[in-house]
Amino acid sequence: MINITQLEVHTHEGRALVQPFDFHLKKGEIVGIFGESGSGKTISTQAMLNLLPSALVSRSIKKIVEDRNLDMLSPREYRKLIGLDVGYIPQNTTEFLHPLVKIKHQMLEGYVTHQCGTKKQGLKRATELLELVGLNNPKKILNGYVFELSGGMRQRVNIALSLMTKPRIIILDEPTTALDSITEHEVMEFFKNINQEEGVSLILITHNMKLIEKYTDRAYVFYQGEMVETNDTKMLFSEPYHPHTRALVQVTHGEEVR
């Protein structure tokens, strides 16, 4: 579904932030992107889909998303592709939705823009999704504002938002950092479910090796702006190659690795 060749990210002034790397994602896969804070995992993922903030620049040889070359698409086609087929759940829950616009308006953005249905149908779907993610009183939430919700609730709203257009790829950026371990489990199981039932491919960005181990099929390890290793998850953990990966596995397992 995604095939990226030699993607790199740098600032306008030329300072390199992420060294060139390759990436691919198959249909129905759950791929992990692991790295500590500052290793470049978020911006790499954003760069893959042309979602970088304007202050950064990226270059690549090829970016294929769902059999389309991302850089060859017209702006309109690009927006349609991203809007419909890609979902994104951000790391930072506070500012992802505008504080002065009602939640329902923001949830309907993608849905209405890409004509998934009428506004009424959209609201219905939004309500269902909010219930699905475990929020009571969806009507009230929809008519309210983000600041009325707690951090955990905001995260759930973001999750519901990402599912509005029935995307085929969902990016989860540190989905569990702000959550306690019980909720963390809930959220991850939820997405595992979606992956299995609906065949949605997932990209999981996290610094939590345990999550990688438990949920991903394959993973990429980032270290200080460089993608240092990639393998099937099982192999990563049983036969880590890069010293950094080895150290990580060691810490995670708390045991010596040959």
Binding site: L51, I82, G87, F96, G110, F147, L161
Partner: protein, 315 residues
Amino acid sequence: MKEIIRRIASSIVLIIVVSFVTFFMLMLIPGDAVEISLGTEATPERVTELRAALGMDAPWYTQYMSWFTHALAGDFGVSFTYGENVTTLLLSRLPVTLSLMLMAIVIAVPLALTIGVIAALKQNKTFDIIARTLMQMGDAMPQFWIALIFLVYIAAQIEIFPISGFTPFSESVYGGVMSLFLPAVVLAFGMIATLIRIVRSSMLHSLKQDYMLMTRVSGVHPVRAIIKYPLRDALIAPLTVIGIQISGLISGVIVVESIFSLPGVGRLLFSAVLKRDLFLILGLVSFIVTSVIIITLITDILYILLNKKMRRNES
């Protein structure tokens, strides 16, 4: 709620304190105010007479109480120089000043919004740089100088703008607007730099926010996204500086009314100061300062209400 009441209470206290301080300062005027105002007619008898009539024999705190209680009822005393009730004078000049200020705002705000938004969108490109340079230069120019230039090079050359004086709206709306136009533009000049800065910085700030990422992920057309979100913030931004703007506007009004000979409150205050007309000064200053305090109070309350809404459930 509690905070709002506190603000109101402190504003009231503020008004009282301000009027007191003003009064006190005026008491310190060297040279007897009465003597000065009587001018050549200041015979000792007349002076004593007038003093008694004005109750200026009494100790100052009594005078203040007397003035204050009258003021609450709307009676600010009588002006020496004009022989009329201060309140009447004030009310007669108020419409001119208010129209002037209103016109200045109507000119400045939409302009500032437009320029600020465009400058933010084209950050550091030509438009932005030119706009910011012009703002810098405008900031450095004293309002009276701009007024003078307008007067010499525009009003004197073009018929429609009168050099001085004001045509009341009752006579001719067109005439009235025209006589206020140039002064209003001068005033707008003074406001516009700060407004543009605020709008621009608000836009820039909003454009960087995460919700813009949300719009991109949702595949919304960038123009629509900008209108729906950052623009909204930018439009509200000027309200945050209303208090300061009004203060500066009033300073500007005094100068501009004097230069363009407009019969407004500013010019009245100026004459009062020149002639050391005690009650007039007192009344006008109290009125002006009270208005500023009230406007600031209202904006503060609105801000608190909005913030309360936003901070209420922040975890």
